[in-house]
C-alpha cells in the first residue's frame, strides 16, 4: 500500500475535486489519453494506448524541491530529481514486432527490457547514478533491472540522440542497456497502471486487463520522460511523461479465426467514461482502408487526418469527453468487420533482420540484413550493435556488402569488449542504395565462462540484444513540422525537423547462442571418486604401515580379581 499512490488517489477522488477537467489556477499539469486502433491486412489488429502527462515544473532546479504532486507520479518525480535525469526511456516487450506483416509501430521497442537514459551535464559520476537508477527502477516496475550493470551497458556515440529539448549532446551522459531475457507479466503491468492518474479505474485504462493483453502476439509497455515545448512558441520547457502500451492481437489465438474485432473481444471490457482528470480522451480508428477492407460501427462523422510514419492516414475519432459518444447504452463498443481479403499492404521502406550462422560451439558469424525497399531513393542508416563480451568479435572479418559489392560505411565507431567488464559496441553509418539488401557480417568466437557465471539453465542459451537501426526514411507525403497543441499523441512522439523525411528506429531479432557448457555434475563426481580412492587406497596403505598389534589379555573372573587385589596389597606376584 504505497502512501504516495494513496495520496495520489485521494487528490484524484472526483467527489473532492468535482467532475471538471480544466486546469486549476494553481496547478499547471494536464493529462491526455488516447487509443489508436489500426486494423492490419492479415486480419490482426493493432491497438496503441498513449497516456501523456504534461507538467510545467523544474525537477532539477537547485534549492527548491518539488513536493506537491498531482497528476505526475511521485515515484518517478523523485527518481528524476535524485539522479539528475534529463531523459528516461524504459520499455518492456513480449514478442517481436513483425515489420513485414504489420508495418511500422508508432513506438518501436526491442524484445525484453530496454532502458536508455540521458543524464544532466551536472552529474559527475554517471556510472554510479546509472547503477542506482537501475536498482530503483527495478523496485518500481517489479522487474530484474538490477541485472543491468557494466557488462551490458554501452555508451552509444551517435545513436539515441535525445528525443526532448536540448542543444548540447555530449554522449558521455548517455547510457543504454537491454535485457533480452526479461519477461513481461502482470507484475510489470500492475505498477505501470498505478502510475496513471486515474489508475485503472476510469478512462481508457479500464481496458487494460492482463488476461487479454498477454494473450497476444506482441505486447509492449513503455514509459518515456523528456522535456518538451510547453506551447507553440516553445519559450519554456515542460516535463512530459508518456506511458505507451502497444498490443497486437492475433487473428487465430485471440480472434478465434473470425475476422471481426470489437473492443469487447479484444479487452473483455467496453468503455463507459473518460478519465475525469483528462483534458482530452479520444479513440482513433484508422479507416484509410475503409470501406474496401472493413466496416466500422458505430459510424461517426468526426474524422481527422494525420501524417504519421510518412503516410497520410484518415482516422475516425471518438471523443470520450462528450456524453453522446456512448449512446443509449452508455458504453462504447467499437466493432470492426472485415469484408473479404484486403490484398497486400504497402511494403515498409526499411526492414532489418539478424541471424547467427555457422556450426559448432566454437565459432560463428552474425549476419545483419537491412532492406531498403524504396524504388529510387537512397538514404543513410545508423546501425548500432551491442554484443556481450563472451562472443569475441573479430572485427577484421567485418564486411558490409550491398548488391554484392562492398559498401564502405562513412562512419565507424567500435569499442572492443573487455572480458567481464564491457560489451562490444559497433556503430556504423551505412548508405543504403535504393531497392537493395545490405548485409553486414562479422565472425565471432565463443568464450568459455567460469563455472559460477553460468545461469541455472545454461543449455537454454545466452541472449544477444537486438541491433538498432536508426534512419531518416524519405517520406511519401510532406511531414508536418509545426507543433500544434491539439495534435494527436501518436503523431507527436518523434520531433519532426524536416518535411521530406521521418525518423524511424527498427529493432532486429535478438539472438540466442549456445556457449560451450561444462558438465555441472563433474565436481560432485570428482569429489566422490577422489574421496573413494583416497579412503580405500591410501587409507588401507596407511593403516598397514602404522597399525600395531597388541595381545589382548582376557578378563579374569570375579574371584580371581579379588584375589589379585589382596595379592597386590601383600606385594605378592599376581595370578593370570
Amino acid at each position: 500500500f504505497r502512501l504516495s499512490s494513496l495520496i495520489g488517489h485521494i487528490s484524484t477522488c472526483p467527489s473532492l475535486i468535482g467532475q471538471c477537467c480544466q486546469r486549476h489556477p494553481g496547478s499547471v499539469d494536464e493529462f491526455q489519453e488516447e487509443l489508436v486502433i489500426r486494423p492490419l491486412h492479415s486480419g490482426d489488429i493493432y491497438a496503441s494506448f498513449q497516456f501523456r502527462t504534461l507538467w510545467d515544473t523544474d525537477f532539477l532546479q537547485e534549492g527548491q524541491k518539488v513536493s506537491h504532486y498531482r497528476l505526475f507520479p511521485k515515484s518517478l518525480g523523485q527518481v528524476l530529481s535524485k539522479f539528475s535525469v534529463r531523459e528516461l526511456h524504459i520499455s518492456f516487450t513480449q514478442g517481436f514486432w513483425r515489420t513485414m506483416q504489420w508495418g511500422q509501430p508508432f513506438i518501436p521497442s526491442p524484445p525484453g527490457a530496454e532502458l536508455w537514459v540521458w543524464f544532466h551535464d551536472t552529474v559527475s559520476d554517471v556510472d554510479g547514478n546509472w547503477k542506482e537508477l537501475t536498482n530503483v527502477l527495478s523496485g518500481i516496475f517489479c522487474a530484474s533491472l538490477n541485472f543491468i550493470d557494466l557488462t551490458n551497458t554501452v555508451q552509444p556515440s551517435a545513436s539515441f540522440k535525445p528525443l526532448g529539448l536540448g542543444n548540447a549532446t555530449d554522449h558521455r551522459f548517455l547510457r543504454y542497456a537491454t535485457l533480452p531475457r526479461e519477461i513481461v507479466c502482470t507484475e510489470n503491468l500492475t505498477p505501470w497502471k498505478k502510475l496513471l492518474p486515474c489508475g485503472s479505474k476510469a478512462g481508457l485504462a479500464v481496458l487494460l486487463k492482463s488476461e487479454k493483453l498477454f494473450h497476444s502476439s506482441f505486447h509492449s509497455q513503455a514509459v518515456h520522460i523528456r522535456p518538451v515545448c510547453q506551447d507553440e512558441q516553445c519559450t519554456s520547457k515542460a516535463w512530459e511523461l508518456r506511458q505507451t502500451l502497444n498490443v497486437v492481437f492475433d487473428l487465430y489465438t485471440a480472434g478465434q479465426g473470425k475476422k471481426e474485432w470489437s473492443l469487447f473481444k479484444m479487452f473483455s471490457r467496453t468503455l463507459t467514461e473518460a478519465c475525469p482528470l483528462a483534458t482530452s480522451s479520444k479513440v482513433y480508428v484508422d479507416i484509410t482502408d475503409n470501406p474496401e477492407l472493413f466496416e466500422l460501427s458505430p459510424a461517426t462523422p468526426l474524422l481527422s487526418q494525420a501524417v504519421v510514419l510518412g503516410d497520410r492516414r484518415t482516422y475516425s475519432v471518438f471523443d470520450l469527453t462528450r456524453a453522446e459518444t456512448f449512446g443509449q447504452l452508455r458504453s462504447l463498443n467499437l466493432l470492426l468487420r472485415w469484408k473479404g481479403d484486403g490484398g497486400e499492404m504497402l511494403r515498409p521502406l526499411l526492414h532489418a533482420e539478424r541471424y547467427v550462422a555457422g556450426f559448432g560451439l566454437q565459432t560463428g558469424e552474425i549476419h545483419t540484413v537491412i532492406y531498403n525497399n524504396h524504388p529510387y531513393r537512397a538514404f543513410p542508416v545508423l546501425l548500432m550493435d551491442s554484443v556481450p563480451w563472451y562472443l569475441q568479435l573479430y572485427i577484421h572479418t567485418l564486411t558490409v556488402t550491398s548488391k554484392s559489392r562492398d559498401n564502405k560505411p562513412s562512419y565507424i565507431h567500435y569499442q572492443p569488449a573487455k572480458d567481464r567488464h564491457r560489451p562490444h559496441l559497433l556503430e556504423m553509418l551505412i548508405q543504403l542504395p535504393p531497392h537493395s539488401m545490405t548485409e553486414v557480417t562479422v565472425q565471432f568466437e565463443r568464450a568459455l565462462l567460469k563455472w559460477t557465471e553460468y545461469t541455472p539453465d545454461p543449455n537454454h542459451g545466452f541472449y544477444v540484444g537486438s541491433s538498432v537501426v536508426s534512419a531518416l526514411v524519405p517520406s511519401m507525403v510532406a511531414m508536418n513540422t509545426n507543433f500544434t497543441q491539439d495534435q494527436p499523441l501518436f503523431s507527436s512522439f518523434v520531433p519532426v525537423k524536416e518535411e521530406s523525411s521521418y525518423f524511424v528506429r527498427v529493432y532486429t531479432e535478438p539472438l540466442l547462442v549456445n556457449l560451450p557448457t561444462p558438465d555441472f555434475s563433474m565436481p560432485y563426481n570428482v569429489i566422490c571418486l577422489t574421496c573413494t580412492v583416497v579412503a580405500v587406497g591410501y587409507g588401507s596403505f596407511y593403516n598397514l604401515l602404522t597399525r600395531t598389534f597388541q595381545v589382548d589379555e582376557p578378563s579374569l573372573p570375579l574371584a580371581k580379581r579379588l584375589a589379585n587385589l589382596i595379592r597386590r596389597i601383600r606385594g605378592v606376584p599376581l595370578l593370570t
Binding site: N135, C142, K161
Partner: protein
C-alpha cells in the same frame, strides 16, 4: 479545510516513521506483520496463500516479499497467459491483477534470500525488495519446492541447508529483526529444515517428517503439471475459515492435514516459542489490524499547497525558442572527432621495455661516450 474525524495513530512500528492521514472516509491501517515467501518450483501454492488469504486478512503488498523462481503465468507454454489456477475447475485466477513479484527468475538465489532475511542488502536496493521489520514485527515465512533431508533446492542449481537457515534466524534475532517468527515449509522431508533452529520465538510447521515425501494434490492434464501440494491444499482450506477477527489458534493449525489426508505426517516445533501455542492466534501471523483511535473533534487545517514560485528571472533570459535535437545529423556524425581519451602515463610493460632498452644502450656505449652524441 475541516475534517469531521481525525484518525490518530498511536505510534507505528516502523522506526522513525509517523504517518498522520487526513481524510474522512478512508481508514488507513498500518500493518505490522510481515509475510515473506519463496517458492522454487511450485507456483500456485504461494500465490494461493498470498492472493486469497494473507491479502484478504489485511497484509498489504509493501509488507510482502514474494520470490518466484519460475515464470509460469506468462510462459509461452501456458495456454491461458497471465493466469494461474489453483484448482482444475479454473474458477479462481490466483495470479490476479494486483500481484507484485519482488524477486523473480534468476534473482531467486540462496544468497538473495539470506540477504533479505538478514537485511544485508546493497544500499541501492529498493524498499519493495527489503524486509523492513523491527523487533515488534511478526514474520511469516512460507517455503515450498523440492527438498530433502536438511536442504531445500533453489533453481535446480543450488541448495539452502537447515544450518544456514538456523544461522540466518539467529542473526535476525541478534539484530532484533523479529518479535515472533512462524516458518512453514512444504517439501519432502520438510521437518529436517527446522531441526537445527536455536533462536528463541520460532515456531515451525512442516508437511512431512524426515524420511517421508510430500505429495502433490491435483494434476492438470492441460498443462501436464500438478497444481498444488496436498499439505498446502488442506492448509488453504483451513485458512478459508479464518477471518480477521477469528480466534483460531496455532493448535488448530497443527491439526491441519493429518496422515489420512496428506499421506505424509506433518510436524511442528514449538519448544523455542515462549508463548503457549494455544494462546497464539492465527491472525497474529497471517493478518493484522492495528488499533486505531478515532476522535470526533474538528480540526482546522491550512492549505498545504504553496503556489508555484514564478520563475520570472529565467523567463526574461530565455526569449529565444528552444529546439529539439536532430535525430540523425549525418554530416555531424561523419565529421565527429573521436573521443579524446584521457592521457594515461605509460603502463608497466612499456616502462619496463624502455628501461631495458636504455640499460642496454648505456651498457653498450657507456656514459662517457655520450658526449660524442650530444
Amino acid at each position: 479545510m475541516e475534517l469531521r474525524e481525525f484518525i490518530n495513530f498511536p505510534g507505528l512500528t516502523f522506526p522513525g516513521l509517523k504517518i498522520t492521514l487526513l481524510k474522512p472516509d478512508i481508514f488507513f491501517k498500518q500493518w505490522y506483520s510481515w509475510y515473506s515467501k519463496i517458492h522454487s518450483s511450485h507456483l500456485e501454492s504461494p500465490l494461493e496463500v498470498f492472493h486469497n488469504h494473507v491479502y484478504r486478512l489485511g497484509i498489504p503488498d509493501s509488507h510482502i516479499v514474494l520470490m518466484l523462481a519460475d515464470d509460469m503465468a506468462c510462459n509461452y507454454r501456458n495456454p491461458k497467459p497471465a493466469t494461474v489456477f489453483s484448482h482444475k475447475n479454473m474458477e479462481l485466477n490466483v495470479y490476479g491483477d494486483d500481484v507484485e513479484v519482488d524477486y523473480r527468475g534468476y534473482e531467486v538465489t540462496v544468497e538473495n534470500f539470506l540477504r533479505v532475511l538478514t537485511g544485508r542488502l546493497p544500499p541501492s536496493t529498493p524498499r519493495s525488495k527489503r524486509l523492513l521489520s523491527d523487533d515488534r514485527s511478526n514474520i511469516l515465512i512460507y517455503l515450498t519446492g523440492h527438498g530433502g533431508n536438511g536442504f531445500l533446492k533453489f533453481q535446480d542449481s543450488e541448495e539452502i541447508s537447515n544450518m544456514e537457515l538456523a544461522d540466518a534466524f539467529e542473526q535476525m534475532w541478534q539484530k532484533r529483526r523479529y518479535n515472533e517468527l512462524l516458518f512453514i515449509i512444504d517439501t519432502c522431508q520438510g521437518a529436517s529444515m527446522y531441526e537445527r533452529f536455536y533462536s528463541p520465538n520460532l515456531m515451525a510447521l512442516a508437511s512431512s517428517q524426515v524420511g517421508e515425501d510430500s505429495l502433490s494434490h491435483q494434476p492438470d492434464l492441460g498443462i501436464g503439471v500438478h497444481l498444488m501440494d496436498k499439505y498446502t491444499f488442506y492448509l488453504l482450506e483451513f485458512l478459508e475459515e479464518v477471518h480477521p477477527a477469528s480466534q483460531a489458534n496455532m493448535n488448530d493449525l497443527f491439526k491441519v492435514c493429518p496422515q489420512s489426508q496428506c499421506v505424509s505426517t506433518p510436524g511442528h516445533r514449538t519448544d523455542l516459542f515462549q508463548r503457549d501455542p494455544g494462546s497464539v492466534l492465527i491472525t497474529d501471523f497471517f493478518g493484522s489490524v492495528r488499533k486505531v483511535e478515532i476522535t470526533k473533534d474538528t480540526i482546522n487545517l491550512t492549505s498545504p499547497v504553496e503556489p508555484p514560485i514564478k520563475r520570472s528571472g529565467s523567463s526574461d533570459i530565455q526569449i529565444e525558442s528552444l529546439t529539439y535535437v536532430d535525430q540523425l545529423p549525418v554530416a555531424e556524425i561523419i565529421h565527429q572527432k573521436p573521443k579524446q581519451k584521457d592521457w594515461h602515463p605509460p603502463d608497466g610493460f612499456i616502462l619496463g621495455l624502455w628501461t631495458l632498452i636504455l640499460l642496454v644502450f648505456f651498457q653498450t656505449y657507456g656514459i662517457k661516450h655520450l658526449k660524442h652524441i650530444f
